[in-house]
């Protein structure tokens, strides 16, 4: 089994991607709603990731 070395950002992005797929598939009723929810969920993950990342960086000084 090959070993992968991902940065924090890459790992969190992958996590957001797979989680958004599942959230989109199981949450809504029509395919369009599922797609939109998946994209929205991914966007929120990304937003939270960048905001909290910057917050921690600024907090550290």
């Amino acid at each position: 089994m090959p070993k992968v070395n991902l940065s924090h950002f890459e790992a969190a992005l992958l996590f957001a991607f797979f989680t958004s797929i599942v959230l989109g598939v199981v949450t809504k009723k029509t395919d369009r709603e599922r797609l939109m929810y998946g994209l929205k969920s991914f966007g929120y993950f990304l937003l939270a990731l960048l905001s909290i990342g910057w917050l921690m960086r600024l907090g550290h000084g």
Partner: protein
Amino acid sequence: MVTMLTQTARLLARFPVLSSPHAKLMNYMAAKEKKPKEPMPPLKDWLPSVALGWLIPGGGHFLLKRRVRGTLLLCAVALTFLFGLMMRGVLFQPKTGDLLTTIIYCGGFLGNLASGIFYLLTVWLGYAQPDVAGHVHDYGTKFLVTAGLLNVLAMVDAFEIAARRKS
């Protein structure tokens, strides 16, 4: 009781002046009490799809003829688990002690176990990663647990489809 609340709600609807916070609460309670609780569907309707969904992520959806959604779920759970392994994440063993230890180790074990065939194959093939420091290992551990938790969501979805609560 339900009839009385419904009548009160109707009366309040006719006279908006009576819409005080108390009246709104009564209205809300009447609306809430009208909803009958959905009965539990027979076991034979949902158990095969939920059990197959546990063993093979997305399998419940395949059984219920939702192939595209089943494929998406299978790929998402399988890739999450695979990345967890490639990042050399740790598989939890149930351990008891203080409350936090019990929650983390038993919860983590249940999360791992929820991945179904992926977890079983990994253990049978002798994967044993010691817990070492490093952000990649940490992410790997979280990926392995998350794969199981995503599969739990997929199993709940398969249950709802099998119970005809959603399409």
